[in-house]
Protein backbone atom coordinates (compact mmCIF):
# COMPACT_ATOMS: atom_id res chain seq x y z
CA UNK A 1 0.00 0.00 0.00
CA UNK A 2 2.85 2.27 0.95
CA UNK A 3 4.65 1.43 -2.34
CA UNK A 4 1.59 2.32 -4.35
CA UNK A 5 1.30 5.72 -2.67
CA UNK A 6 4.96 6.57 -3.22
CA UNK A 7 4.74 5.54 -6.94
CA UNK A 8 1.69 7.79 -7.32
CA UNK A 9 3.58 10.71 -5.85
CA UNK A 10 6.59 9.96 -8.06
CA UNK A 11 4.44 10.00 -11.16
CA UNK A 12 2.68 13.15 -10.06
CA UNK A 13 6.02 14.78 -9.38
CA UNK A 14 7.28 13.86 -12.83
CA UNK A 15 4.13 15.19 -14.46
CA UNK A 16 4.31 18.40 -12.46
CA UNK A 17 7.97 18.90 -13.36
CA UNK A 18 7.28 18.12 -17.03
CA UNK A 19 4.31 20.44 -17.10
CA UNK A 20 6.39 23.09 -15.43
CA UNK A 21 9.20 22.71 -17.96
CA UNK A 22 6.71 22.87 -20.82
CA UNK A 23 5.10 25.96 -19.39
CA UNK A 24 8.50 27.55 -18.84
CA UNK A 25 9.53 26.67 -22.43
CA UNK A 26 6.31 28.03 -23.87
CA UNK A 27 6.59 31.19 -21.87
CA UNK A 28 10.19 31.70 -23.17
CA UNK A 29 12.02 31.45 -19.89
CA UNK A 30 14.08 28.49 -21.13
CA UNK A 31 15.38 30.08 -24.37
CA UNK A 32 18.79 31.08 -23.04
CA UNK A 33 19.26 27.63 -21.57
CA UNK A 34 18.10 25.91 -24.78
CA UNK A 35 20.29 28.17 -26.92
CA UNK A 36 23.27 27.33 -24.86
CA UNK A 37 22.58 23.63 -25.18
CA UNK A 38 21.50 23.57 -28.86
CA UNK A 39 24.12 25.83 -30.40
CA UNK A 40 26.99 23.34 -30.15
CA UNK A 41 24.73 20.59 -31.37
CA UNK A 42 23.61 22.64 -34.39
CA UNK A 43 27.24 23.53 -35.14
CA UNK A 44 28.22 19.87 -35.01
CA UNK A 45 25.22 18.98 -37.22
CA UNK A 46 26.17 21.62 -39.77
CA UNK A 47 29.78 20.45 -39.85
CA UNK A 48 28.73 16.82 -40.36
CA UNK A 49 26.23 17.81 -43.03
CA UNK A 50 28.68 20.00 -44.97
CA UNK A 51 31.36 17.31 -44.87
CA UNK A 52 28.85 14.75 -46.06
CA UNK A 53 27.72 16.97 -48.97
CA UNK A 54 31.33 17.69 -49.90
CA UNK A 55 32.15 14.00 -49.84
CA UNK A 56 29.04 13.21 -51.86
CA UNK A 57 29.88 15.82 -54.49
CA UNK A 58 33.45 14.62 -54.63
CA UNK A 59 32.30 11.08 -55.21
CA UNK A 60 29.52 11.86 -57.70
CA UNK A 61 31.01 14.86 -59.60
CA UNK A 62 33.17 12.98 -62.16
CA UNK A 63 30.22 10.91 -63.29
CA UNK A 64 28.05 14.04 -63.63
CA UNK A 65 30.80 15.93 -65.49
CA UNK A 66 31.12 13.16 -68.01
CA UNK A 67 27.38 12.98 -68.53
CA UNK A 68 27.18 16.78 -68.78
CA UNK A 69 29.97 16.88 -71.30
CA UNK A 70 28.24 14.22 -73.36
CA UNK A 71 24.97 16.09 -73.10
CA UNK A 72 26.72 19.30 -74.07
CA UNK A 73 28.18 17.65 -77.14
CA UNK A 74 24.76 16.32 -78.11
CA UNK A 75 23.22 19.75 -77.71
CA UNK A 76 26.01 21.39 -79.70
CA UNK A 77 25.46 18.88 -82.47
CA UNK A 78 21.73 19.57 -82.39
CA UNK A 79 22.39 23.32 -82.53
CA UNK A 80 24.69 22.85 -85.54
CA UNK A 81 22.06 20.70 -87.27
CA UNK A 82 19.35 23.24 -86.55
CA UNK A 83 21.51 26.09 -87.79
CA UNK A 84 22.16 24.16 -91.01
CA UNK A 85 18.41 23.61 -91.32
CA UNK A 86 17.75 27.31 -90.75
CA UNK A 87 20.24 28.27 -93.46
CA UNK A 88 18.74 25.71 -95.84
CA UNK A 89 15.21 26.92 -95.12
CA UNK A 90 16.25 30.54 -95.58
CA UNK A 91 17.77 29.59 -98.94
CA UNK A 92 14.57 27.76 -99.89
CA UNK A 93 12.54 30.76 -98.77
CA UNK A 94 14.59 33.09 -100.97
CA UNK A 95 14.19 30.73 -103.93
CA UNK A 96 10.46 30.45 -103.22
CA UNK A 97 10.15 34.23 -103.09
CA UNK A 98 11.87 34.51 -106.48
CA UNK A 99 9.62 31.80 -107.92
CA UNK A 100 6.47 33.39 -106.45
CA UNK A 101 7.47 36.74 -107.96
CA UNK A 102 7.98 35.09 -111.34
CA UNK A 103 4.66 33.28 -110.97
CA UNK A 104 2.89 36.53 -110.16
CA UNK A 105 4.45 38.12 -113.22
CA UNK A 106 3.37 35.19 -115.40
CA UNK A 107 -0.19 35.41 -114.05
CA UNK A 108 -0.27 39.14 -114.68
CA UNK A 109 0.72 38.59 -118.33
CA UNK A 110 -1.40 35.63 -119.41
CA UNK A 111 -0.93 36.40 -123.10
CA UNK A 112 2.60 34.98 -122.92
CA UNK A 113 3.82 31.45 -122.34
CA UNK A 114 6.83 31.11 -120.09
CA UNK A 115 9.52 28.62 -119.22
CA UNK A 116 11.26 29.29 -115.91
CA UNK A 117 15.00 28.72 -115.76
CA UNK A 118 17.79 29.05 -113.23
CA UNK A 119 20.90 31.07 -113.97
CA UNK A 120 23.80 28.63 -113.63
CA UNK A 121 26.74 30.62 -114.93
CA UNK A 122 28.17 33.72 -116.51
CA UNK A 123 30.28 34.25 -119.58
CA UNK A 124 33.97 33.56 -118.91
CA UNK A 125 34.95 36.76 -120.71
CA UNK A 126 34.59 39.93 -118.60
CA UNK A 127 33.95 41.92 -121.79
CA UNK A 128 30.68 40.15 -122.45
CA UNK A 129 27.48 40.20 -120.43
CA UNK A 130 25.92 36.82 -120.99
CA UNK A 131 24.42 34.31 -118.58
CA UNK A 132 23.89 30.57 -118.94
CA UNK A 133 20.51 29.10 -117.99
CA UNK A 134 19.57 25.49 -117.29
CA UNK A 135 16.86 25.14 -119.94
CA UNK A 136 17.49 24.35 -123.60
CA UNK A 137 15.89 23.19 -126.80
CA UNK A 138 14.44 20.14 -125.01
CA UNK A 139 12.31 22.59 -123.00
CA UNK A 140 11.17 24.53 -126.05
CA UNK A 141 13.78 27.28 -125.87
CA UNK A 142 14.78 28.72 -129.24
CA UNK A 143 17.26 31.31 -130.45
CA UNK A 144 16.06 34.89 -130.10
CA UNK A 145 13.38 34.32 -127.47
CA UNK A 146 13.04 37.21 -124.99
CA UNK A 147 14.02 36.63 -121.37
CA UNK A 148 12.43 38.53 -118.48
CA UNK A 149 12.07 38.52 -114.71
CA UNK A 150 9.24 39.81 -112.57
CA UNK A 151 10.98 43.21 -112.61
CA UNK A 152 11.50 43.58 -116.33
CA UNK A 153 13.58 42.78 -119.40
CA UNK A 154 16.72 40.65 -119.01
CA UNK A 155 17.80 39.95 -122.59
CA UNK A 156 17.33 37.36 -125.28
CA UNK A 157 18.45 33.84 -126.00
CA UNK A 158 21.66 33.89 -128.01
CA UNK A 159 22.59 30.21 -128.29
CA UNK A 160 20.85 26.97 -127.38
CA UNK A 161 21.91 23.42 -126.63
CA UNK A 162 19.64 20.54 -125.62
CA UNK A 163 19.81 21.25 -121.90
CA UNK A 164 21.09 24.81 -121.59
CA UNK A 165 21.03 28.18 -123.28
CA UNK A 166 23.12 31.33 -123.36
CA UNK A 167 21.31 34.62 -122.84
CA UNK A 168 22.68 37.95 -124.02
CA UNK A 169 21.82 40.55 -121.38
CA UNK A 170 20.62 44.03 -122.27
CA UNK A 171 23.76 45.32 -120.52
CA UNK A 172 26.04 43.67 -123.09
CA UNK A 173 27.94 46.04 -125.34
CA UNK A 174 26.51 44.36 -128.42
CA UNK A 175 22.86 44.75 -127.40
CA UNK A 176 20.48 47.31 -128.83
CA UNK A 177 16.85 47.39 -127.62
CA UNK A 178 14.22 49.55 -129.28
CA UNK A 179 12.36 51.37 -126.53
CA UNK A 180 9.92 54.15 -125.84
CA UNK A 181 9.48 56.52 -122.94
CA UNK A 182 6.24 55.85 -121.11
CA UNK A 183 5.32 59.50 -120.53
CA UNK A 184 6.39 61.24 -123.72
CA UNK A 185 5.83 58.25 -126.05
CA UNK A 186 9.11 59.11 -127.77
CA UNK A 187 11.02 56.17 -129.22
CA UNK A 188 14.74 55.54 -128.93
CA UNK A 189 17.28 52.82 -128.39
CA UNK A 190 18.88 51.40 -125.28
CA UNK A 191 22.54 50.41 -125.75
CA UNK A 192 24.60 48.24 -123.43
CA UNK A 193 28.23 48.84 -122.60
CA UNK A 194 31.35 47.04 -121.47
CA UNK A 195 30.86 48.31 -117.90
CA UNK A 196 27.30 47.02 -117.71
CA UNK A 197 25.65 50.44 -117.79
CA UNK A 198 22.83 51.00 -120.25
CA UNK A 199 22.11 54.27 -121.98
CA UNK A 200 19.20 55.72 -123.90
CA UNK A 201 20.25 56.92 -127.35
CA UNK A 202 18.68 58.42 -130.47
CA UNK A 203 16.33 60.74 -128.58
CA UNK A 204 15.68 63.96 -130.54
CA UNK A 205 17.01 67.14 -128.97
CA UNK A 206 13.56 68.75 -128.74
CA UNK A 207 12.16 65.91 -126.63
CA UNK A 208 11.75 66.64 -122.95
CA UNK A 209 13.12 63.80 -120.85
CA UNK A 210 12.65 63.83 -117.12
CA UNK A 211 14.51 61.97 -114.43
CA UNK A 212 12.53 58.94 -113.36
CA UNK A 213 10.83 58.44 -116.74
CA UNK A 214 10.07 54.77 -117.31
CA UNK A 215 11.65 53.10 -120.34
CA UNK A 216 9.64 50.31 -122.00
CA UNK A 217 10.29 48.12 -125.01
CA UNK A 218 8.58 49.51 -128.09
CA UNK A 219 8.35 46.26 -130.04
CA UNK A 220 9.86 47.98 -133.06
CA UNK A 221 12.03 45.66 -135.12
CA UNK A 222 10.28 42.57 -133.81
CA UNK A 223 13.12 41.54 -131.51
CA UNK A 224 11.28 42.02 -128.22
CA UNK A 225 7.58 42.16 -127.36
CA UNK A 226 6.27 45.65 -126.58
CA UNK A 227 5.66 47.19 -123.14
CA UNK A 228 8.23 45.28 -121.10
CA UNK A 229 9.85 47.47 -118.48
CA UNK A 230 13.54 48.11 -119.13
CA UNK A 231 14.51 50.76 -116.60
CA UNK A 232 14.25 54.29 -115.39
CA UNK A 233 16.02 57.44 -116.59
CA UNK A 234 18.61 58.37 -113.97
CA UNK A 235 20.71 61.01 -115.75
CA UNK A 236 20.32 63.17 -118.86
CA UNK A 237 23.22 64.18 -121.11
CA UNK A 238 22.12 66.91 -123.50
CA UNK A 239 24.72 68.67 -125.62
CA UNK A 240 23.49 71.36 -128.03
CA UNK A 241 26.04 70.54 -130.74
CA UNK A 242 24.83 66.95 -131.15
CA UNK A 243 21.91 65.60 -133.15
CA UNK A 244 20.49 63.48 -130.35
CA UNK A 245 20.44 63.62 -126.61
CA UNK A 246 21.32 60.64 -124.46
CA UNK A 247 20.34 59.50 -120.99
CA UNK A 248 21.64 57.00 -118.49
CA UNK A 249 19.08 54.33 -117.67
CA UNK A 250 19.00 52.46 -114.38
CA UNK A 251 17.89 48.90 -115.20
CA UNK A 252 15.02 47.55 -113.12
CA UNK A 253 16.64 44.12 -113.04
CA UNK A 254 19.58 43.63 -110.69
CA UNK A 255 21.87 41.67 -113.00
CA UNK A 256 24.48 41.01 -110.32
CA UNK A 257 22.09 38.83 -108.30
CA UNK A 258 20.14 37.25 -111.13
CA UNK A 259 19.01 33.78 -110.00
CA UNK A 260 15.95 32.79 -112.02
CA UNK A 261 14.42 34.06 -115.24
CA UNK A 262 11.42 33.47 -117.48
CA UNK A 263 11.82 32.75 -121.17
CA UNK A 264 8.85 33.88 -123.28
CA UNK A 265 8.37 30.88 -125.53
CA UNK A 266 5.44 32.02 -127.66
CA UNK A 267 7.29 35.05 -129.02
CA UNK A 268 9.35 34.49 -132.13
CA UNK A 269 11.57 37.37 -133.22
CA UNK A 270 11.03 38.63 -136.74
CA UNK A 271 13.92 38.04 -139.11
CA UNK A 272 14.37 41.30 -140.98
CA UNK A 273 17.42 40.20 -142.95
CA UNK A 274 15.48 38.93 -146.00
CA UNK A 275 13.63 42.26 -146.18
CA UNK A 276 16.78 44.37 -146.29
CA UNK A 277 17.67 45.04 -149.92
CA UNK A 278 21.11 43.93 -151.05
CA UNK A 279 22.94 45.82 -153.78
CA UNK A 280 22.80 44.06 -157.13
CA UNK A 281 26.24 43.80 -158.74
Amino acid sequence: MKTLVSRFWQTALVLIVASGLILLALSGYLHPLLRGVMSPLVGVQQWISSRYIAAYQFLTAPRDMASLQQRNLELERQVAELQAQVIELQQQLREAQVIYALLDFARAHPQNQYVAANVIGRDPSPFLHYVIIDRGSDDGIRHGMPVVTSQGLVGRVDAVTAGAARVQLITDAGTIVNVRLQNSKVEGQVHGSVTGEISLEMIPQDTVIQLGDLVLTSGLGGTYPPDILVGQVSDIRKQPNQLFQTAVVQPVVDFSTLQAVLVITNFRPIQLAPLIPTPIP
Binding site: I120, G121, R122, P124, S125, F127, Y130, G174
Partner: protein
Protein backbone atom coordinates in the same frame (compact mmCIF):
# COMPACT_ATOMS: atom_id res chain seq x y z
CA UNK B 1 49.80 10.94 -123.49
CA UNK B 2 47.82 10.78 -120.25
CA UNK B 3 48.37 14.51 -119.85
CA UNK B 4 46.76 15.13 -123.24
CA UNK B 5 43.76 12.99 -122.32
CA UNK B 6 43.39 14.87 -119.05
CA UNK B 7 43.23 18.25 -120.80
CA UNK B 8 39.52 18.17 -121.66
CA UNK B 9 38.11 17.00 -118.30
CA UNK B 10 40.48 19.17 -116.29
CA UNK B 11 39.92 22.32 -118.29
CA UNK B 12 36.20 21.50 -118.51
CA UNK B 13 36.04 21.37 -114.71
CA UNK B 14 37.97 24.61 -114.47
CA UNK B 15 35.59 26.21 -116.97
CA UNK B 16 32.63 25.18 -114.79
CA UNK B 17 34.28 26.82 -111.78
CA UNK B 18 35.05 29.85 -113.94
CA UNK B 19 31.46 30.36 -115.17
CA UNK B 20 29.77 29.47 -111.87
CA UNK B 21 32.06 31.27 -109.42
CA UNK B 22 35.04 33.22 -110.75
CA UNK B 23 33.03 35.21 -113.31
CA UNK B 24 30.69 36.34 -110.52
CA UNK B 25 33.59 37.57 -108.36
CA UNK B 26 34.19 40.81 -110.18
CA UNK B 27 36.37 43.78 -109.41
CA UNK B 28 34.75 46.74 -111.20
CA UNK B 29 33.90 44.84 -114.40
CA UNK B 30 36.98 42.65 -114.45
CA UNK B 31 37.27 39.02 -113.46
CA UNK B 32 39.96 36.37 -113.29
CA UNK B 33 40.62 33.83 -116.06
CA UNK B 34 41.32 30.35 -114.67
CA UNK B 35 41.78 28.75 -118.09
CA UNK B 36 44.39 31.29 -119.13
CA UNK B 37 46.28 30.82 -115.87
CA UNK B 38 46.10 27.04 -116.09
CA UNK B 39 47.49 27.09 -119.64
CA UNK B 40 50.31 29.43 -118.62
CA UNK B 41 51.24 27.31 -115.58
CA UNK B 42 51.15 24.14 -117.69
CA UNK B 43 53.21 25.62 -120.51
CA UNK B 44 55.87 26.96 -118.12
CA UNK B 45 56.60 23.62 -116.50
CA UNK B 46 60.07 22.41 -117.49
CA UNK B 47 59.08 18.79 -118.14
CA UNK B 48 55.86 19.43 -120.11
CA UNK B 49 56.73 18.48 -123.67
CA UNK B 50 53.78 19.98 -125.51
CA UNK B 51 50.95 22.31 -124.58
CA UNK B 52 49.26 22.20 -127.97
CA UNK B 53 46.46 19.82 -126.94
CA UNK B 54 45.81 21.92 -123.84
CA UNK B 55 45.56 25.10 -125.92
CA UNK B 56 43.14 23.36 -128.28
CA UNK B 57 41.04 22.04 -125.41
CA UNK B 58 40.95 25.35 -123.52
CA UNK B 59 40.32 27.43 -126.61
CA UNK B 60 37.56 25.23 -127.96
CA UNK B 61 35.80 24.87 -124.59
CA UNK B 62 35.83 28.61 -123.90
CA UNK B 63 34.86 29.39 -127.49
CA UNK B 64 31.94 27.02 -127.20
CA UNK B 65 30.62 28.35 -123.87
CA UNK B 66 31.37 32.03 -124.34
CA UNK B 67 29.62 34.51 -126.58
CA UNK B 68 32.97 35.42 -128.15
CA UNK B 69 33.77 34.36 -131.72
CA UNK B 70 34.83 30.71 -131.63
CA UNK B 71 38.39 31.20 -132.84
CA UNK B 72 39.19 34.15 -130.57
CA UNK B 73 40.00 32.16 -127.39
CA UNK B 74 41.89 29.60 -129.46
CA UNK B 75 44.11 32.23 -131.05
CA UNK B 76 44.42 34.28 -127.85
CA UNK B 77 45.39 31.33 -125.67
CA UNK B 78 47.71 30.10 -128.43
CA UNK B 79 49.59 33.41 -128.43
CA UNK B 80 49.90 33.47 -124.63
CA UNK B 81 51.10 29.87 -124.45
CA UNK B 82 53.62 30.57 -127.23
CA UNK B 83 54.93 33.46 -125.11
CA UNK B 84 55.16 31.18 -122.09
CA UNK B 85 57.09 28.48 -124.00
CA UNK B 86 59.46 31.10 -125.38
CA UNK B 87 60.09 32.54 -121.94
CA UNK B 88 60.65 29.08 -120.48
CA UNK B 89 63.16 28.04 -123.13
CA UNK B 90 65.23 31.18 -123.39
CA UNK B 91 65.23 33.41 -120.38
CA UNK B 92 63.74 32.47 -117.08
CA UNK B 93 64.96 29.97 -114.55
CA UNK B 94 62.62 31.04 -111.73
CA UNK B 95 59.25 29.55 -112.69
CA UNK B 96 57.08 31.58 -110.30
CA UNK B 97 58.56 34.82 -111.56
CA UNK B 98 58.02 33.63 -115.12
CA UNK B 99 54.42 32.77 -114.20
CA UNK B 100 53.80 36.32 -112.98
CA UNK B 101 55.55 37.83 -116.00
CA UNK B 102 53.56 35.78 -118.51
CA UNK B 103 50.32 36.35 -116.57
CA UNK B 104 50.86 40.09 -116.80
CA UNK B 105 51.69 40.22 -120.50
CA UNK B 106 49.38 37.34 -121.40
CA UNK B 107 46.37 39.09 -119.88
CA UNK B 108 47.21 42.29 -121.76
CA UNK B 109 47.71 40.43 -125.06
CA UNK B 110 44.53 38.39 -124.67
CA UNK B 111 42.42 41.40 -123.70
CA UNK B 112 43.84 43.56 -126.50
CA UNK B 113 43.02 40.83 -129.01
CA UNK B 114 39.50 40.50 -127.55
CA UNK B 115 38.86 44.25 -127.76
CA UNK B 116 40.04 44.39 -131.37
CA UNK B 117 37.96 41.38 -132.45
CA UNK B 118 34.83 42.58 -130.63
CA UNK B 119 35.20 46.02 -132.22
CA UNK B 120 34.98 44.40 -135.64
CA UNK B 121 32.21 41.99 -134.68
CA UNK B 122 29.66 44.64 -133.70
CA UNK B 123 30.34 45.25 -130.00
CA UNK B 124 31.87 48.70 -129.72
CA UNK B 125 34.27 48.77 -126.77
CA UNK B 126 35.86 52.11 -125.88
CA UNK B 127 39.57 51.48 -125.27
CA UNK B 128 39.83 53.68 -122.20
CA UNK B 129 36.76 52.21 -120.54
CA UNK B 130 37.78 48.66 -121.41
CA UNK B 131 41.26 49.23 -120.01
CA UNK B 132 40.26 50.88 -116.74
CA UNK B 133 37.12 48.91 -115.96
CA UNK B 134 37.96 45.47 -117.31
CA UNK B 135 41.60 44.87 -118.18
CA UNK B 136 43.37 46.40 -115.18
CA UNK B 137 41.04 44.81 -112.58
CA UNK B 138 41.28 41.49 -114.44
CA UNK B 139 45.06 41.82 -114.45
CA UNK B 140 45.09 42.28 -110.68
CA UNK B 141 42.79 39.30 -110.13
CA UNK B 142 44.82 37.12 -112.50
CA UNK B 143 48.04 37.93 -110.65
CA UNK B 144 46.38 37.09 -107.33
CA UNK B 145 45.04 33.80 -108.73
CA UNK B 146 48.34 32.97 -110.42
CA UNK B 147 49.90 31.69 -107.17
CA UNK B 148 47.37 28.94 -106.32
CA UNK B 149 46.94 27.95 -109.96
CA UNK B 150 50.69 27.68 -110.42
CA UNK B 151 51.04 25.52 -107.29
CA UNK B 152 48.21 23.24 -108.42
CA UNK B 153 49.39 22.73 -111.97
CA UNK B 154 53.04 22.45 -110.99
CA UNK B 155 52.12 19.51 -108.74
CA UNK B 156 49.98 18.02 -111.50
CA UNK B 157 52.79 18.29 -114.02
CA UNK B 158 55.27 16.77 -111.53
CA UNK B 159 52.90 13.86 -111.06
CA UNK B 160 52.31 13.31 -114.77
CA UNK B 161 55.96 13.84 -115.76
CA UNK B 162 58.05 12.42 -112.89
CA UNK B 163 61.71 13.38 -112.82
CA UNK B 164 63.95 10.66 -114.25
CA UNK B 165 67.28 10.05 -112.50
CA UNK B 166 70.12 8.82 -114.73
CA UNK B 167 72.63 6.67 -112.89
CA UNK B 168 76.17 6.54 -114.20
CA UNK B 169 77.67 3.11 -114.20
Amino acid sequence: MLADWLAFPLLGGLLMIQTAIISRLTLLSGSGDLILLALIAWALHERVRSALVWVLAGGLLVGWVSGMPLLLPLIGYGLVVALARMIRRQVWQIPLLAMLFVTFWGTLIYHALTIVVLQFSGSPLPWESALTHVTLPSLFLNIVLAFPVYALFNDLANWLYPETVVKNA
